[in-house]
């Protein structure tokens, strides 16, 4: 295979899905290493034939699995969007109480803002403004998974715990449930990937890679952080500054 690109050593898994060792001997798929991985937003995790959809059973089953995961995420996201969730987390975890306070004030803010018609701040909590097109969600999820399937991401989430993350400074995973144009979304993904590269392991170093949790699943923190993602609030002067703990999802 041709020489590895600058970024190939940062990818945790090879093209065929198997975990890479730090000394990358994954030479059977020539394509993986010559690609400039940071600026590609591939439709799938493996080389796709020009005919489009993969017809091999292995890929079909993986797609099926991802589709189900996306649907599950969507249901959770919709569920979490309703106010009952706030009561729920309040009861099970006192840590969330401060988030509830923020969300409480945000709800009031949002209601006042309904007439502003700002197209940028789509509220993913409202079912109507959510992206629900399965094909779009699948594509976006693949792009996100591709970015999370990197050593950089693993190092980032270990190094910067959620409550320490500052908006603008630390990369934040784009929210696939929000409505964005294709261009806008692809741009966000690119910027996110570029920011993540700051956590790339130094080239040529040998390191024991320990896996983080299931990166495909949306964990509870991510869901709550999606709730908190109100860019209008972050920029607005009305935001109670002491309470804007913008613990962004990575």
């Amino acid at each position: 295979s041709s020489g590895p690109s600058r970024w190939s050593h940062c990818r945790k898994r090879g093209i065929d899905g198997s975990l890479r060792s730090h000394s990358d001997e994954d030479g059977d798929d020539g394509h993986s290493d010559s690609r400039n991985s940071s600026f590609t937003t591939p439709e799938s995790a493996a080389p796709v034939s020009r005919c489009g959809r993969q017809s091999d059973w292995g890929s079909q089953v993986e797609d099926e699995e991802m589709r189900q995961d996306v649907h599950r995420d969507m249901q959770r996201s919709l569920f979490e969007g309703c106010h009952y969730y706030l009561l729920f987390v309040d009861v099970i975890c006192p840590l969330f109480r401060y988030r509830r306070r923020i969300l409480g004030s945000e709800v009031n803010q949002r209601e006042r803002k309904t007439s502003s018609g700002s197209s940028g701040s789509c509220d993913s909590r409202e079912g109507e403004n959510m992206e629900t097109d399965e094909a779009v969600l699948m594509r976006r999820q693949k792009q996100i998974s591709y970015g999370k399937n990197t050593l950089a991401y693993d190092r980032y989430i270990k190094e910067v715990p959620k409550h320490m993350r500052q908006p603008g400074v630390h990369p934040k995973t784009p929210n696939k449930f929000r409505k964005y144009s294709r261009r806008s979304w692809d741009q966000q993904i690119k910027l996110w990937r570029v920011k993540l590269h700051a956590w790339d392991p130094p080239a040529g170093c040998s390191q024991e890679h320990t896996l983080s949790d299931n990166i495909e699943e949306l964990d509870l923190d991510d869901i709550v952080d999606i709730e908190l993602d109100f860019p209008s609030l972050a920029e607005s002067q009305n935001a109670p500054s002491s309470l804007v703990v913008h613990s962004s999802a990575a």
């Binding site: 899905g17 059973w57 292995g58 089953v61 299931n214």
Partner: protein, 221 residues
Amino acid sequence: MENCSEDYRIQSFDVDTQKLLKTALKDPSSVNLEKVSNILVDQSLKDSLFSKEAGRICYTIVQAEAKQNNGTVFRRHLLNRLQQEFKEREETRKRSLQGWVSYVTFICNIFDYLKVNNMPMVALVLPVYDCLMRLAQPDALLNEEEVDCLVLQLHRIGEQLEKVNSQRMDELFFLLRDGFLLQEGLTSMARLLLLEVLEFRAGGWMLSSTAHKYYYSEIAD
């Protein structure tokens, strides 16, 4: 998880292969999973007894790999091998009836064990139906081996298959009725098997107790 090798019937393999398989069950990322999947598929195509429960060891390896590192390498290789063999099934059938029957047994067993979020794998549904339809063709019904395989699979996975695609199940049973009624040269055992499976499905994928008595009781001489 302690699983004795007897559960997976790996005694038919040589010692080194048994060791490899045991390692694959415990520590999948440390072995060549493509090689392991080929070993299991090859054996299933040869050994009809093995193919009957080969799904179980495959399932365990899939789970182990998913748990260990979220990997799907083994599953992917397994499925693509299955697909390859599926494409060549007609040649396989011509070459070796036993090999063909073993293949069908194996793919049905995989369908049974390997689920995605507790649902059958959509990618396998039509191929499984294609295999069963092939077994219901007139030339196949003449072979008791094939009829036996067909009814066995319907007993094991018929209900699940019908849930995911009832239309094709209807089509299959049209063939079975025709075969039972019209096919010349069927052995009486073949006809008995077909009649039983017709009743089995008609009874909602179970036999009434009287029917069970008819088909499965010992007959006093």
